[in-house]
Subunit: 408 residues, 2 copies
Amino acid sequence: MKILIKHCNLISVEPDRELYEKDIDILIENDIIKKIDKNINEDADKIIDAINKVVMPGLINTHAHIPMSIFKENLDGYSLQEWLTQKIWPAEEKLTDEDIYKASMMSFREMIRTGTTTIVDMYFMQNNIIKAAEETNVRLELTRTLMDSDGNGDKKLEELENLIKEFQGKEENITINVGAHALYTCSESYLPKTIELAKKYNLNFQIHFCENTQEVEDIKKDYNVKNPAEVLEKYLGSTNSILAHAVKLTDTDIEKMKKLNISISHCPISNLKLGCGIARISKLLDEGINVSLGTDGQGSGSSLDLFEVMKFTALLQKGINENPKLLPAYEIIKMATINGAKAIRKEQKIGSIKEGKKADIIIIDMENPVIMPINDIFSAIVYNVKGTDVDTSIINGKIVMENKKIKV
Amino acid sequence: MKILIKHCNLISVEPDRELYEKDIDILIENDIIKKIDKNINEDADKIIDAINKVVMPGLINTHAHIPMSIFKENLDGYSLQEWLTQKIWPAEEKLTDEDIYKASMMSFREMIRTGTTTIVDMYFMQNNIIKAAEETNVRLELTRTLMDSDGNGDKKLEELENLIKEFQGKEENITINVGAHALYTCSESYLPKTIELAKKYNLNFQIHFCENTQEVEDIKKDYNVKNPAEVLEKYLGSTNSILAHAVKLTDTDIEKMKKLNISISHCPISNLKLGCGIARISKLLDEGINVSLGTDGQGSGSSLDLFEVMKFTALLQKGINENPKLLPAYEIIKMATINGAKAIRKEQKIGSIKEGKKADIIIIDMENPVIMPINDIFSAIVYNVKGTDVDTSIINGKIVMENKKIKV
């Protein structure tokens, strides 16, 4: 199967290319970006005319809870603790396989509709999520969430290890990783076992970390440390890890974290909505820590629209630091693409548009009075494009949405 | 002309009605909402089927600079001072009548496309803005911006007074008010003249106020006060006033301001983008001050999409106060509708859907994977609906957009 995209206004996010190029053609052969050039004349099974549109890498969402689409907007008026104990946990106990499958289908369709092509998930009953991912062709980084606060830690470890073995070398779009829920739900005897599992199979490790003040206090008490990062320092070693949220970090935490092999998945909308606060992203970037973007589950994050997360990320840092020069738009675009790929160690495969990389590409319709006129293309993408302006989405060489119609 | 809207899911924002009503019909006769009831059977020139859609009052944007559409996204990488002196002011000096007219047409179309029906403007060369407003049928609260820092204060006053006289009792949709630019561009001898003009014709007064730290310092020095609100206290009297921004207020400022006849126009996106900070909206509301919403000009505010401003308003207050219970979604909807009407003293005419009020109504298409599923309708409006999801817009009884096609 050959797809030829003609007349692209291209933001490739490739350091070797211009930041923005006009009238470029892209040839896709099966799952691979075969050629990027002016005026490619080659027979193709499908030709897409991208004239007046912007073509860029599919976005990468590094923190979500896929089936939580069904909990969208049920948080208003609740504190975090009330919401969890009165709404989410009782509802989650009743979820059937069918519920998880349908909720995942909704999320994958929402994600495709808004231009995300890769998503990192942390939930349970994962076979139903996998089934929906296979049907919708999304690129999925998946775990069975580990915790032992309910007394069933070892059973979850076993379940995840079986899943890891089952998927080794099997799926193109689905990768299993290791996700521990959080330090306050994993005891100090259990946490090292979860990290060992990641090390054993050389997998990425993900965990919620320092999401709010209460969590930080709990970690200090439970792990008998002064700074939560001491726990990471002690147990992570060189394990490639994604820390979701990281809102409440001290300078000491950041100092320790920059020596580790970690990325921060910044979820600003969820952090605001749950009343957690605003992560110090500008400082983390200054310290050379890789920051990627996440939505969190829709219960707290409202949607899977990463364009909106880009906008919040840029504006919050400018606002709280009272410095409009911080986080230029192009840096934000990198956070939603190549930085996400780095977070999951797939920067050689996805996260930019480059010959030889996987064809994960989105095409954006810019003809809209909210977006026009365009004075700066990168700012237009970050501040004015909405996820629903994405017109066409290609994942692993397959067209999953065309002309805003989802095809999977 | 009779328009009948059938099967509305209605958020009327009327205290005498239910917060949310299903399957309601609305009959519009000329410019007036004639009847709101179940199953209205009446001959109409136009029937709109709103089934599965949400019907609510058109949004009211209480702070904008209409012709700044052409400066959209040219701010990235500049400080506020650099942006003004290197980009905006030199460009503004060259603007022709034709530029202002075309830029205003772009803004009015953007505003209609995103569900706003009334807008408060502060700019100059206002005849071109008026021409565009007349052509697009938007409801406009307009001033000729007053300031004397350039030595031409009295000429501007005269120009504005002539405009006021010209429009007295003339236009249905256009109201002239008095706008002074800011305390740092109006001297203490000039400011009282601007307020006197508002008093003389019983007009609303608007001014930028305490947008950033530098401005507060300048006011203290120029007006020899400890708190900027002392200036308002001294000169405003009972004048109905809209203070745009009000980011940097002390408790003393708020204490003084709550005794005045003022509304705050909160412009969170612009305040973040310019590095000004985050206004203490939750505190202002607690103190009983009317807060409405504004976009500011698109140069700093990015767009005229008030749905996005609603989302930022809610999330920022929850986030910075670390309290997810603050600013429930319905309160936010009021800020974008009836509070805006109160700010401009038109709450008897617009801002809610009520028999006898002007027909300023929007219809929102909810069939979209970002919005669905809907667990709470008010949260769906504030957190998941985008301006571009608005399907149909009626201003003063005239359909200005239908099925997302702008008709003016």
